[in-house]
Protein backbone atom coordinates (compact mmCIF):
# COMPACT_ATOMS: atom_id res chain seq x y z
CA UNK A 1 0.00 0.00 0.00
CA UNK A 2 1.51 3.28 -1.14
CA UNK A 3 0.36 5.31 1.84
CA UNK A 4 1.59 2.89 4.50
CA UNK A 5 5.02 2.59 2.90
CA UNK A 6 5.32 6.34 2.69
CA UNK A 7 4.49 6.74 6.37
CA UNK A 8 7.02 4.08 7.36
CA UNK A 9 9.70 5.76 5.27
CA UNK A 10 8.96 9.16 6.77
CA UNK A 11 9.14 7.80 10.29
CA UNK A 12 12.47 6.07 9.65
CA UNK A 13 13.92 9.22 8.10
CA UNK A 14 12.70 11.35 10.97
CA UNK A 15 14.27 9.08 13.54
CA UNK A 16 17.49 8.69 11.59
CA UNK A 17 17.80 12.39 10.85
CA UNK A 18 17.74 13.36 14.50
CA UNK A 19 21.30 12.32 15.35
CA UNK A 20 22.46 13.74 12.03
CA UNK A 21 20.91 17.08 12.91
CA UNK A 22 22.97 17.15 16.11
CA UNK A 23 26.34 17.01 14.39
CA UNK A 24 27.54 20.30 15.94
CA UNK A 25 30.67 19.83 18.07
CA UNK A 26 29.78 18.48 21.48
CA UNK A 27 31.01 16.12 24.16
CA UNK A 28 29.10 14.18 26.81
CA UNK A 29 30.45 14.61 30.33
CA UNK A 30 29.28 12.30 33.10
CA UNK A 31 29.43 14.24 36.32
CA UNK A 32 27.80 14.34 39.72
CA UNK A 33 24.57 15.86 40.94
CA UNK A 34 26.36 17.87 43.59
CA UNK A 35 28.62 19.47 41.00
CA UNK A 36 25.70 20.40 38.78
CA UNK A 37 23.39 21.54 41.53
CA UNK A 38 26.05 23.81 43.00
CA UNK A 39 25.73 25.78 39.78
CA UNK A 40 29.40 25.39 38.83
CA UNK A 41 28.69 24.13 35.34
CA UNK A 42 26.27 26.95 34.56
CA UNK A 43 29.15 29.28 35.32
CA UNK A 44 32.01 27.31 33.80
CA UNK A 45 30.70 25.82 30.59
CA UNK A 46 29.64 29.01 28.77
CA UNK A 47 33.21 30.29 29.14
CA UNK A 48 34.63 27.12 27.58
CA UNK A 49 32.00 26.98 24.84
CA UNK A 50 32.60 30.59 23.88
CA UNK A 51 36.32 29.97 23.63
CA UNK A 52 36.28 26.70 21.71
CA UNK A 53 32.81 26.38 20.16
CA UNK A 54 32.47 22.94 21.77
CA UNK A 55 29.13 22.29 23.47
CA UNK A 56 29.48 20.42 26.75
CA UNK A 57 26.51 18.19 27.58
CA UNK A 58 26.53 17.24 31.24
CA UNK A 59 24.63 14.21 32.46
CA UNK A 60 24.51 14.60 36.22
CA UNK A 61 24.16 11.36 38.17
CA UNK A 62 25.92 9.89 41.22
CA UNK A 63 29.68 9.24 41.08
CA UNK A 64 29.16 5.47 40.90
CA UNK A 65 26.70 5.85 38.03
CA UNK A 66 28.95 8.36 36.27
CA UNK A 67 31.88 5.96 36.31
CA UNK A 68 29.62 3.17 35.06
CA UNK A 69 28.52 5.43 32.22
CA UNK A 70 32.22 5.69 31.39
CA UNK A 71 32.57 1.91 31.52
CA UNK A 72 29.67 1.56 29.07
CA UNK A 73 31.15 4.14 26.75
CA UNK A 74 28.13 6.42 27.10
CA UNK A 75 30.27 9.44 28.04
CA UNK A 76 33.43 11.00 26.61
CA UNK A 77 34.68 12.54 29.86
CA UNK A 78 34.07 11.67 33.51
CA UNK A 79 34.30 14.40 36.14
CA UNK A 80 33.65 13.11 39.68
CA UNK A 81 34.91 13.29 43.27
CA UNK A 82 35.94 9.90 44.63
CA UNK A 83 39.72 9.43 44.26
CA UNK A 84 39.62 5.75 45.28
CA UNK A 85 36.96 4.90 42.73
CA UNK A 86 38.68 7.05 40.11
CA UNK A 87 41.97 5.24 40.65
CA UNK A 88 40.20 1.90 40.27
CA UNK A 89 38.62 3.19 37.04
CA UNK A 90 42.01 4.20 35.63
CA UNK A 91 43.66 0.98 36.80
CA UNK A 92 40.95 -0.99 34.98
CA UNK A 93 42.14 0.77 31.84
CA UNK A 94 38.84 2.60 31.51
CA UNK A 95 40.22 6.11 31.93
CA UNK A 96 43.17 8.02 30.48
CA UNK A 97 44.50 11.59 30.77
CA UNK A 98 43.51 11.58 34.44
CA UNK A 99 44.00 14.85 36.31
CA UNK A 100 43.13 16.12 39.78
CA UNK A 101 41.38 19.38 39.25
CA UNK A 102 39.90 21.07 42.30
CA UNK A 103 38.47 20.45 45.73
CA UNK A 104 35.53 21.67 47.70
CA UNK A 105 34.65 20.76 51.19
CA UNK A 106 32.01 18.84 53.02
CA UNK A 107 30.19 20.16 56.04
CA UNK A 108 28.09 18.48 58.70
CA UNK A 109 24.65 20.03 58.61
CA UNK A 110 22.13 19.43 61.35
CA UNK A 111 19.19 20.75 63.36
CA UNK A 112 19.80 23.93 65.30
CA UNK A 113 18.54 22.07 68.38
CA UNK A 114 21.68 19.87 68.01
CA UNK A 115 20.74 16.84 70.19
CA UNK A 116 24.22 15.30 69.75
CA UNK A 117 25.96 18.52 70.74
CA UNK A 118 28.40 18.72 67.83
CA UNK A 119 28.00 22.38 66.90
CA UNK A 120 31.18 24.42 66.57
CA UNK A 121 33.39 21.35 66.51
CA UNK A 122 36.38 21.21 64.19
CA UNK A 123 36.73 17.43 64.01
CA UNK A 124 34.39 15.49 61.79
CA UNK A 125 35.31 12.13 63.35
CA UNK A 126 34.51 13.40 66.85
CA UNK A 127 31.20 14.73 65.58
CA UNK A 128 30.26 11.39 64.02
CA UNK A 129 31.16 9.54 67.21
CA UNK A 130 28.87 11.84 69.18
CA UNK A 131 26.02 11.42 66.68
CA UNK A 132 26.31 7.63 66.81
CA UNK A 133 26.50 7.63 70.60
CA UNK A 134 23.38 9.80 70.83
CA UNK A 135 21.64 7.74 68.15
CA UNK A 136 20.59 11.08 66.72
CA UNK A 137 18.80 10.91 63.35
CA UNK A 138 21.31 10.93 60.48
CA UNK A 139 20.52 10.86 56.76
CA UNK A 140 22.89 8.99 54.44
CA UNK A 141 22.71 9.28 50.64
CA UNK A 142 23.54 5.57 50.34
CA UNK A 143 23.78 5.92 46.53
CA UNK A 144 27.43 5.05 45.74
CA UNK A 145 28.12 8.73 45.15
CA UNK A 146 31.40 10.45 45.95
CA UNK A 147 29.71 12.05 48.96
CA UNK A 148 28.44 8.68 50.15
CA UNK A 149 31.89 7.12 49.72
CA UNK A 150 33.39 9.93 51.79
CA UNK A 151 30.77 9.48 54.49
CA UNK A 152 31.57 5.78 54.75
CA UNK A 153 35.31 6.58 54.98
CA UNK A 154 34.66 8.96 57.87
CA UNK A 155 32.61 6.40 59.82
CA UNK A 156 35.43 3.88 59.35
CA UNK A 157 38.09 6.37 60.43
CA UNK A 158 36.01 7.18 63.49
CA UNK A 159 36.23 3.53 64.43
CA UNK A 160 32.54 2.89 63.79
CA UNK A 161 31.43 -0.12 61.75
CA UNK A 162 28.37 1.64 60.43
CA UNK A 163 27.11 -1.44 58.57
CA UNK A 164 26.84 -3.31 61.88
CA UNK A 165 26.10 -0.40 64.17
CA UNK A 166 23.41 1.39 62.23
CA UNK A 167 19.93 1.48 63.66
CA UNK A 168 16.65 3.20 62.96
CA UNK A 169 18.42 6.53 63.58
CA UNK A 170 20.51 5.99 60.41
CA UNK A 171 18.33 6.71 57.38
CA UNK A 172 19.54 5.57 53.97
CA UNK A 173 17.64 7.37 51.24
CA UNK A 174 19.49 6.18 48.13
CA UNK A 175 19.17 9.62 46.57
CA UNK A 176 21.05 12.66 45.37
CA UNK A 177 22.28 15.45 47.61
CA UNK A 178 19.25 17.66 47.18
CA UNK A 179 16.61 15.04 47.93
CA UNK A 180 18.66 13.79 50.86
CA UNK A 181 18.79 17.35 52.22
CA UNK A 182 15.03 17.60 51.76
CA UNK A 183 14.65 14.47 53.85
CA UNK A 184 17.06 15.71 56.52
CA UNK A 185 15.23 19.02 56.63
CA UNK A 186 11.86 17.43 57.24
CA UNK A 187 13.23 14.96 59.78
CA UNK A 188 15.49 17.40 61.59
CA UNK A 189 18.40 15.04 61.00
CA UNK A 190 22.17 15.40 60.64
CA UNK A 191 23.67 14.92 57.22
CA UNK A 192 27.05 15.18 55.46
CA UNK A 193 26.72 17.61 52.57
CA UNK A 194 29.02 19.34 50.12
CA UNK A 195 29.16 23.07 50.76
CA UNK A 196 28.22 23.92 47.17
CA UNK A 197 24.88 22.13 47.24
CA UNK A 198 24.16 23.43 50.72
CA UNK A 199 24.74 27.05 49.79
CA UNK A 200 22.25 26.87 46.94
CA UNK A 201 19.76 24.68 48.80
CA UNK A 202 16.58 26.56 49.56
CA UNK A 203 14.55 24.22 51.74
CA UNK A 204 16.72 24.42 54.86
CA UNK A 205 13.99 24.29 57.46
CA UNK A 206 15.70 24.16 60.82
CA UNK A 207 19.09 23.01 59.51
CA UNK A 208 22.41 24.85 59.72
CA UNK A 209 26.12 24.11 59.29
CA UNK A 210 27.37 22.69 62.59
CA UNK A 211 30.83 21.32 61.79
CA UNK A 212 33.23 22.63 59.16
CA UNK A 213 36.84 23.40 58.42
CA UNK A 214 38.36 20.01 59.23
CA UNK A 215 41.05 19.27 56.62
CA UNK A 216 39.66 15.77 56.44
CA UNK A 217 36.51 17.29 54.98
CA UNK A 218 38.23 18.38 51.82
CA UNK A 219 36.75 16.67 48.78
CA UNK A 220 38.97 16.15 45.75
CA UNK A 221 37.63 16.23 42.18
CA UNK A 222 39.21 14.38 39.28
CA UNK A 223 38.61 14.47 35.53
CA UNK A 224 39.54 11.93 32.91
CA UNK A 225 38.90 10.88 29.33
CA UNK A 226 37.09 7.61 28.77
CA UNK A 227 39.64 5.28 27.17
CA UNK A 228 39.18 5.44 23.38
CA UNK A 229 41.00 2.13 23.04
CA UNK A 230 38.06 0.48 24.78
CA UNK A 231 35.38 2.75 23.30
CA UNK A 232 36.16 3.93 19.76
CA UNK A 233 33.20 6.31 19.77
CA UNK A 234 34.85 8.59 22.36
CA UNK A 235 35.54 12.06 21.00
CA UNK A 236 39.23 12.14 21.85
CA UNK A 237 40.22 15.60 20.61
CA UNK A 238 37.16 17.40 21.89
CA UNK A 239 37.27 15.57 25.23
CA UNK A 240 40.93 16.31 25.77
CA UNK A 241 40.33 19.93 24.80
CA UNK A 242 37.89 20.18 27.69
CA UNK A 243 40.19 18.43 30.17
CA UNK A 244 43.16 20.56 29.13
CA UNK A 245 41.11 23.72 29.49
CA UNK A 246 39.85 22.82 32.97
CA UNK A 247 43.39 22.44 34.24
CA UNK A 248 44.73 25.41 32.31
CA UNK A 249 45.25 28.74 34.10
CA UNK A 250 42.10 30.09 32.42
CA UNK A 251 40.01 27.14 33.54
CA UNK A 252 41.41 27.12 37.05
CA UNK A 253 40.69 30.82 37.38
CA UNK A 254 37.14 30.32 36.16
CA UNK A 255 36.65 27.70 38.86
CA UNK A 256 38.00 29.99 41.54
CA UNK A 257 35.83 32.85 40.34
CA UNK A 258 32.61 30.94 40.99
CA UNK A 259 30.94 32.26 44.09
CA UNK A 260 27.59 31.75 45.78
CA UNK A 261 26.52 34.49 48.13
CA UNK A 262 30.04 35.91 47.95
CA UNK A 263 31.60 32.59 49.03
CA UNK A 264 34.01 30.62 46.85
CA UNK A 265 32.86 27.01 46.58
CA UNK A 266 35.60 25.22 44.63
CA UNK A 267 39.36 25.57 45.07
CA UNK A 268 41.42 24.73 41.98
CA UNK A 269 44.45 22.63 42.84
CA UNK A 270 45.83 21.23 39.62
CA UNK A 271 49.55 20.81 40.03
CA UNK A 272 50.41 18.87 36.90
CA UNK A 273 49.66 15.57 38.67
Amino acid sequence: MGLKRRIALAATLALAAAPLAAQEKFITVASTTSTEQSGLFKHLLPIFEKQTGIQVRVVAVGTGQALNMGRRGDADVVFVHDPAAEKKFVDEGQGVNYKQVMYNDFVIVGPKSDPAKVAGGKDVLEALKKIEAAKAPFVSRADKSGTHAAELRYWKSAGIDIGAQKGPWYKETGSGMGPALNTASSLGAYILADRGTWLSFKNRGDLAILVEGDRKLFNQYGIMLVNPAKHPNVKVDLGNAFIDWVVSPAGQKAIADYKVGGEQLFFPNYTGG
Binding site: A11, A22, K42, V59, R71, D74, P179, S200, N203
Partner: protein, 234 residues
Protein backbone atom coordinates in the same frame (compact mmCIF):
# COMPACT_ATOMS: atom_id res chain seq x y z
CA UNK B 1 0.43 26.97 52.80
CA UNK B 2 3.14 29.59 52.25
CA UNK B 3 4.85 27.25 49.83
CA UNK B 4 1.66 26.92 47.81
CA UNK B 5 1.01 30.65 47.70
CA UNK B 6 4.62 31.25 46.71
CA UNK B 7 4.21 28.56 44.06
CA UNK B 8 1.29 30.39 42.47
CA UNK B 9 3.29 33.61 42.54
CA UNK B 10 6.22 31.81 40.90
CA UNK B 11 3.90 30.29 38.30
CA UNK B 12 2.55 33.71 37.34
CA UNK B 13 6.05 35.15 37.25
CA UNK B 14 7.27 32.30 35.03
CA UNK B 15 4.41 32.82 32.60
CA UNK B 16 4.75 36.59 32.52
CA UNK B 17 8.53 36.61 32.17
CA UNK B 18 8.69 33.57 29.84
CA UNK B 19 12.44 33.74 29.42
CA UNK B 20 14.14 32.00 26.49
CA UNK B 21 15.27 29.08 28.63
CA UNK B 22 11.73 28.44 29.89
CA UNK B 23 10.32 28.63 26.36
CA UNK B 24 12.93 26.17 25.11
CA UNK B 25 12.02 23.70 27.87
CA UNK B 26 8.29 23.99 27.13
CA UNK B 27 8.89 23.63 23.40
CA UNK B 28 11.00 20.51 23.88
CA UNK B 29 8.42 18.98 26.24
CA UNK B 30 5.68 19.44 23.65
CA UNK B 31 7.86 18.22 20.79
CA UNK B 32 8.80 15.04 22.60
CA UNK B 33 5.34 14.18 23.92
CA UNK B 34 3.39 15.11 20.80
CA UNK B 35 5.81 13.16 18.60
CA UNK B 36 5.50 10.16 20.88
CA UNK B 37 1.70 10.38 20.78
CA UNK B 38 1.64 10.67 16.99
CA UNK B 39 3.89 7.65 16.44
CA UNK B 40 2.23 5.59 19.16
CA UNK B 41 -1.23 6.30 17.73
CA UNK B 42 -0.17 5.24 14.22
CA UNK B 43 1.09 1.95 15.63
CA UNK B 44 -1.44 1.36 18.39
CA UNK B 45 -4.70 1.87 16.50
CA UNK B 46 -4.11 -0.92 13.97
CA UNK B 47 -2.88 -3.22 16.73
CA UNK B 48 -5.89 -2.50 18.95
CA UNK B 49 -8.31 -2.87 16.05
CA UNK B 50 -6.70 -6.12 14.89
CA UNK B 51 -6.98 -7.66 18.35
CA UNK B 52 -10.57 -6.43 18.66
CA UNK B 53 -11.88 -8.01 15.44
CA UNK B 54 -9.46 -10.88 15.09
CA UNK B 55 -9.96 -14.40 16.29
CA UNK B 56 -6.73 -16.23 17.07
CA UNK B 57 -5.40 -18.63 19.69
CA UNK B 58 -4.27 -16.82 22.81
CA UNK B 59 -6.50 -13.83 22.12
CA UNK B 60 -7.76 -13.55 25.68
CA UNK B 61 -4.23 -13.76 27.06
CA UNK B 62 -3.14 -11.06 24.61
CA UNK B 63 -5.93 -8.76 25.81
CA UNK B 64 -5.00 -9.30 29.45
CA UNK B 65 -1.34 -8.62 28.66
CA UNK B 66 -2.18 -5.46 26.73
CA UNK B 67 -4.32 -4.13 29.55
CA UNK B 68 -1.58 -4.93 32.07
CA UNK B 69 1.03 -3.09 29.99
CA UNK B 70 -0.96 0.11 30.54
CA UNK B 71 0.64 0.07 33.96
CA UNK B 72 4.24 -0.12 32.70
CA UNK B 73 6.35 1.90 35.12
CA UNK B 74 7.98 4.77 33.20
CA UNK B 75 11.27 4.30 35.01
CA UNK B 76 11.40 0.64 33.91
CA UNK B 77 10.75 1.60 30.31
CA UNK B 78 13.48 4.21 30.61
CA UNK B 79 15.89 1.66 31.97
CA UNK B 80 15.21 -0.86 29.22
CA UNK B 81 15.54 1.75 26.47
CA UNK B 82 18.73 3.03 28.12
CA UNK B 83 20.25 -0.46 28.06
CA UNK B 84 19.25 -0.83 24.41
CA UNK B 85 20.64 2.54 23.30
CA UNK B 86 23.75 2.56 25.49
CA UNK B 87 27.07 2.22 23.66
CA UNK B 88 27.46 -1.06 25.45
CA UNK B 89 24.07 -2.17 24.23
CA UNK B 90 22.77 -3.62 20.94
CA UNK B 91 21.74 -0.29 19.40
CA UNK B 92 24.67 1.76 20.70
CA UNK B 93 25.93 2.39 17.17
CA UNK B 94 22.97 4.69 16.53
CA UNK B 95 24.30 7.18 19.07
CA UNK B 96 20.78 8.00 20.23
CA UNK B 97 21.33 8.00 23.98
CA UNK B 98 20.87 11.37 25.70
CA UNK B 99 19.04 12.85 22.71
CA UNK B 100 15.42 13.95 22.32
CA UNK B 101 14.97 11.07 19.88
CA UNK B 102 15.68 8.60 22.68
CA UNK B 103 13.07 10.36 24.80
CA UNK B 104 10.50 10.06 22.00
CA UNK B 105 11.29 6.35 21.65
CA UNK B 106 10.88 5.74 25.37
CA UNK B 107 7.62 7.66 25.61
CA UNK B 108 6.23 5.96 22.50
CA UNK B 109 6.87 2.55 24.06
CA UNK B 110 5.30 3.73 27.30
CA UNK B 111 2.02 5.01 25.86
CA UNK B 112 1.56 2.54 23.02
CA UNK B 113 -0.17 -0.05 25.24
CA UNK B 114 -2.47 2.59 26.72
CA UNK B 115 -3.76 3.73 23.34
CA UNK B 116 -3.92 0.16 22.00
CA UNK B 117 -5.79 -1.24 25.00
CA UNK B 118 -8.36 1.57 25.05
CA UNK B 119 -8.74 1.40 21.28
CA UNK B 120 -9.23 -2.35 21.48
CA UNK B 121 -12.13 -1.91 23.87
CA UNK B 122 -13.77 0.84 21.81
CA UNK B 123 -13.37 -1.07 18.54
CA UNK B 124 -14.65 -4.30 20.06
CA UNK B 125 -17.80 -2.57 21.33
CA UNK B 126 -18.41 -0.91 17.98
CA UNK B 127 -17.64 -4.09 16.05
CA UNK B 128 -20.68 -5.73 17.54
CA UNK B 129 -22.81 -2.99 16.00
CA UNK B 130 -21.11 -2.79 12.61
CA UNK B 131 -19.96 -6.30 11.91
CA UNK B 132 -22.94 -7.74 10.09
CA UNK B 133 -23.50 -4.68 7.94
CA UNK B 134 -19.87 -4.40 6.88
CA UNK B 135 -19.72 -8.11 6.15
CA UNK B 136 -22.89 -7.83 4.14
CA UNK B 137 -21.44 -5.03 2.02
CA UNK B 138 -18.42 -7.19 1.27
CA UNK B 139 -15.91 -5.38 3.46
CA UNK B 140 -13.80 -7.97 5.21
CA UNK B 141 -10.72 -8.30 7.37
CA UNK B 142 -8.54 -5.25 7.66
CA UNK B 143 -10.68 -3.19 5.28
CA UNK B 144 -13.57 -3.50 7.70
CA UNK B 145 -11.33 -2.79 10.69
CA UNK B 146 -10.01 0.39 9.06
CA UNK B 147 -13.51 1.58 8.20
CA UNK B 148 -14.58 0.93 11.76
CA UNK B 149 -11.61 2.74 13.28
CA UNK B 150 -12.27 5.81 11.14
CA UNK B 151 -15.95 5.72 11.97
CA UNK B 152 -15.40 5.69 15.74
CA UNK B 153 -12.56 8.18 15.55
CA UNK B 154 -14.14 10.48 18.11
CA UNK B 155 -14.22 7.73 20.74
CA UNK B 156 -10.67 6.76 19.89
CA UNK B 157 -9.70 10.35 20.37
CA UNK B 158 -10.13 9.98 24.11
CA UNK B 159 -7.73 7.03 24.05
CA UNK B 160 -5.19 9.23 22.29
CA UNK B 161 -5.67 11.98 24.88
CA UNK B 162 -5.04 9.42 27.62
CA UNK B 163 -1.73 8.60 25.99
CA UNK B 164 -0.88 12.28 25.67
CA UNK B 165 -1.60 12.86 29.34
CA UNK B 166 0.66 10.03 30.37
CA UNK B 167 3.46 11.24 28.11
CA UNK B 168 3.35 14.82 29.37
CA UNK B 169 3.26 13.68 32.99
CA UNK B 170 6.04 11.14 33.15
CA UNK B 171 9.54 11.87 34.32
CA UNK B 172 11.15 8.46 34.91
CA UNK B 173 11.66 7.46 31.29
CA UNK B 174 12.85 10.79 29.90
CA UNK B 175 15.16 11.33 32.86
CA UNK B 176 17.07 8.11 32.31
CA UNK B 177 17.29 8.08 28.52
CA UNK B 178 17.62 11.85 28.15
CA UNK B 179 19.99 12.59 31.01
CA UNK B 180 18.25 15.89 31.80
CA UNK B 181 21.02 17.76 29.97
CA UNK B 182 20.67 21.51 30.31
CA UNK B 183 19.62 22.99 26.99
CA UNK B 184 19.44 19.64 25.21
CA UNK B 185 17.17 17.13 26.92
CA UNK B 186 15.68 19.07 29.79
CA UNK B 187 11.88 19.05 29.78
CA UNK B 188 9.21 20.36 32.15
CA UNK B 189 8.97 17.24 34.29
CA UNK B 190 12.72 16.74 34.66
CA UNK B 191 13.11 20.44 35.49
CA UNK B 192 10.50 20.06 38.22
CA UNK B 193 12.38 17.03 39.57
CA UNK B 194 15.64 19.00 39.51
CA UNK B 195 14.24 22.04 41.30
CA UNK B 196 12.64 19.77 43.89
CA UNK B 197 15.95 18.08 44.57
CA UNK B 198 17.61 21.49 44.86
CA UNK B 199 15.09 22.30 47.54
CA UNK B 200 13.41 25.10 45.59
CA UNK B 201 9.92 23.74 46.23
CA UNK B 202 7.90 26.86 45.34
CA UNK B 203 9.64 27.06 41.96
CA UNK B 204 9.12 23.36 41.36
CA UNK B 205 5.44 23.66 42.21
CA UNK B 206 5.17 26.80 40.08
CA UNK B 207 6.59 24.89 37.13
CA UNK B 208 4.09 22.17 37.89
CA UNK B 209 1.26 24.67 37.68
CA UNK B 210 2.57 25.87 34.33
CA UNK B 211 2.78 22.29 33.06
CA UNK B 212 -0.76 21.45 34.15
CA UNK B 213 -2.02 24.67 32.56
CA UNK B 214 -0.38 23.80 29.25
CA UNK B 215 -1.83 20.28 29.27
CA UNK B 216 -5.22 21.74 30.14
CA UNK B 217 -5.02 24.11 27.17
CA UNK B 218 -3.99 21.25 24.89
CA UNK B 219 -6.98 19.22 26.01
CA UNK B 220 -9.38 22.14 25.67
CA UNK B 221 -8.16 22.84 22.15
CA UNK B 222 -8.40 19.21 21.14
CA UNK B 223 -11.90 18.93 22.60
CA UNK B 224 -13.28 21.91 20.72
CA UNK B 225 -11.81 20.61 17.45
CA UNK B 226 -13.54 17.31 18.11
CA UNK B 227 -16.84 19.00 18.92
CA UNK B 228 -16.79 20.96 15.65
CA UNK B 229 -16.02 17.85 13.61
CA UNK B 230 -18.57 15.74 15.43
CA UNK B 231 -21.38 18.20 14.95
CA UNK B 232 -21.18 17.70 11.21
CA UNK B 233 -21.62 13.95 11.10
CA UNK B 234 -23.05 12.81 14.45
Amino acid sequence: MDTILQAFRDAVRLIVELDAGMLAIIRLSLQVSLSAVAIATLLALPVGAAIAVGRFPGRQATIVLLNALMGLPPVVVGLVVYLLLSRAGPLGELGLLFTPTAMVIAQTILILPIIAALARQAVEDAWREYQEQLHSLGAGGWKAALTLVWDIRFSLFTAVLAGLGRACAEVGAVMIVGGNIDGVTRVMTTTIALETSKGDLPLALGLGIVLVTIVLMLNAGAYSLKEVAQRRYG
